[in-house]
Symmetry: C2
Subunit: 380 residues, 2 copies
């Protein structure tokens, strides 16, 4: 019997699990919101429904039972974990770990408890709380909803208490709690990806640099260039400390701020992550294969890079409507294009391009150029 891995999610992350699932002889059963979802086409088995629908979850967990249940996003209702437990299907990462990727206040509290480097932060209930924090942190702060944020949503830079009024009111009405963080004067954003399996084995990929534009990841450079001192080692240590301290199973992404040689935890994701797409073409083991290995408690694969430099450039929705048309126009034979099979909307992540090269400048220039062709048809 082929082991089944069940995945909640119709997006590109579940989609990109299909290739390594096939290679490993697994069956990938995916819960999708619609038959047109990005992951539905390559999935081996498809269940249509929402994670909030108990019937859909039962179909996802039906016989033959999955060997593991996992996610491509953190918005998983607690009921799903109960249903999995009743069926004897291990849910990985588990709710106790996933909580820290779902809720930023829980995450910050836990980072503090683990002695890991947080920005200054506080939970805020009132405009008075906001005023007090701004007063001692230079008059500016980053306001966040504790839950539900993604790609710049649920995050806002503020300079005065009244700018927090709507979210504080929503929180008082039972909405997500609100936290306020120092506006870290960071120079660069880094990310470390670590996989951990239930029996404890962990493997980290090289620390990468993530270039953000308008709050969305634009490019990732692997490895992160010219890191001061022992920042690379410290990033890896933080990644493993989070994975172990939170009992993560699967792939964990820790997004980090680098300010001078000070390194701070920004966000966590417990799933394959945009900052790890370079591993598909630039590492011995991709984050997607590794996630499957980890949730099945299989030995983890080698995370070594296969080239001196790999750069991933995201393709956000732009002028071109039919992305496959770009395949005829890209003149770079080493541009590794990955399309997500999603309808094009402005700013939506619809694909990415990886380029590996001997120099960082070459990898960066070629990846960005090819992504621009996919997006707009040549207009960089």
């Amino acid at each position: 019997m082929t082991p089944i891995v069940a995945v909640v999610g119709g997006g590109q992350l579940a989609r990109m699990m299909a290739a390594p699932a096939t290679a490993l002889g697994l069956t990938l059963r995916v819960l999708v919101e619609s038959p047109e979802a990005a992951s539905a086409l390559p999935a081996h088995q498809t269940v249509v429904g929402l994670p909030t629908d108990p019937d859909a979850i039962q179909r996802l967990l039906a016989h033959p039972r999955p060997a593991a249940l996992t996610w491509e996003h953190e918005h998983i209702p607690a009921d799903v974990f109960d249903a999995a437990e009743e069926c004897g299907v291990p849910a990985r990462p588990g709710l106790h770990a996933l909580l820290f990727a779902q809720d930023k206040i829980e995450m910050r509290t836990r980072m503090d408890a683990l002695g890991l480097p947080n920005p200054a932060w506080t939970h805020v209930d009132t405009e008075g709380d906001v005023e007090d924090f701004l007063a001692v942190h230079g008059g500016a702060g980053v306001l966040k909803t504790s839950r539900g944020g993604y790609d710049g949503k649920g995050v806002r830079v503020i300079h005065a208490p009244h700018e927090a009024a709507d979210w504080l009111r929503a929180a008082a009405d039972g909405g997500p709690r609100v936290l306020l963080e120092e506006k870290v004067p960071f120079d660069r954003e880094l990310a470390v990806l670590v996989a951990r399996r239930p029996s404890g084995e962990m493997r980290a990929w090289p620390t990468v640099e993530s270039i953000q534009r308008a709050g969305v990841c634009s490019e990732v450079i692997a490895p992160a260039p010219d890191l001061p001192g022992d920042v690379a080692a410290e990033a890896a240590r933080i990644g493993e400390a989070v994975a172990e301290g939170l009992g993560v199973t699967g792939v964990l992404a820790v997004e980090l701020f680098l300010a001078g040689d000070r390194i701070l935890v920004n966000e966590l994701a417990m799933r394959p992550h945009n900052s790890g797409h370079w591993t598909i073409d630039g590492a011995v083991t991709s984050q997607f294969e590794q996630h499957l290995r980890a949730v099945l408690d299989l030995p983890l694969g080698d995370t070594a890079p296969t080239a001196p430099w790999t750069v991933m450039a995201n393709v956000l929705g732009g002028a071109r409507a039919t992305l496959t048309d770009a395949l005829a126009e890209i003149g770079d034979p080493g541009a590794k294009v990955q399309l997500y099979g999603k309808g094009v909307r402005a700013g939506r992540k619809v694909g990415h391009v990886n380029v590996s090269a001997a120099t960082r400048d070459e990898a960066y220039g070629r990846a960005v150029a090819a992504a621009a062709i996919v997006r707009d048809g040549g207009a960089a």
Copy 2:
């Protein structure tokens, strides 16, 4: 609209096209002999039927029409090409090219016409023809049926005319014609893979060495080590001459004998080939992505290796019944396992392992060791 590529074949070659089809944003529609076929699980769309069934072919070609029709094997009835032409779907490689992979007499005749290096050979109708050939070629020869051979079937070493009697009788009764080739005293077997697209662009991967055991490929070493003189360049020249001379579209494999520094054409395959599985993990562009690019007339990808050495070791059916069990037992994190989702039978190709390394010995030893674990559970 997502371009559709239609593929005839339920085996591992069609199966391994699914991952690059997904990456390129294509839809892979596969004709399989049964829903349990190796390619059925990862295929994006499945049509169940045989290539000899006109109704199945119509469903394979149905609206939305495929952008191209291709094959994972050469046993394609001529009717299929007619059906594709009527629908306006390009069939690649076309019948005029595929003929030379279907029929060894046509192939040898054509190699001679192109001035490419054949072993001595002749078409034989009678035991007298056999006797004449053996008399001038050292009393031994390799008897082949012109059509239908595969993995050592339809091939026989003979030393006397009567050993050809059954195949000659079958040929006289309307079966496949028979040819007799010199028994080449080869030292090694090489293979060169070339992709060619309709507009003429060609790209070859580095020439590899294929290690055969009992007529079946056991390991492939990329690149072929320690080739004398200009054998590597000559192999690439032969590959491109065959691709161009025969008007191949898609991936072409030319299997070669190396005898001293003499190089001879052994067999042709017009599809991804076992000797190219190393490209999945060891080259910038895999043979499966390249085949899709070629049959769609898209620019071809870079064929450069990503490591100094990559060795592919086939997994033939052995003691282990459930191959995924091996994933827990392989202690080598750099062993890239590919399982074909096929039932295990003795000697059947059911998977392979690629290992890339800095030295040939390391890559070879590790690939063979991991393949042995997949096959038998540790008994090398």
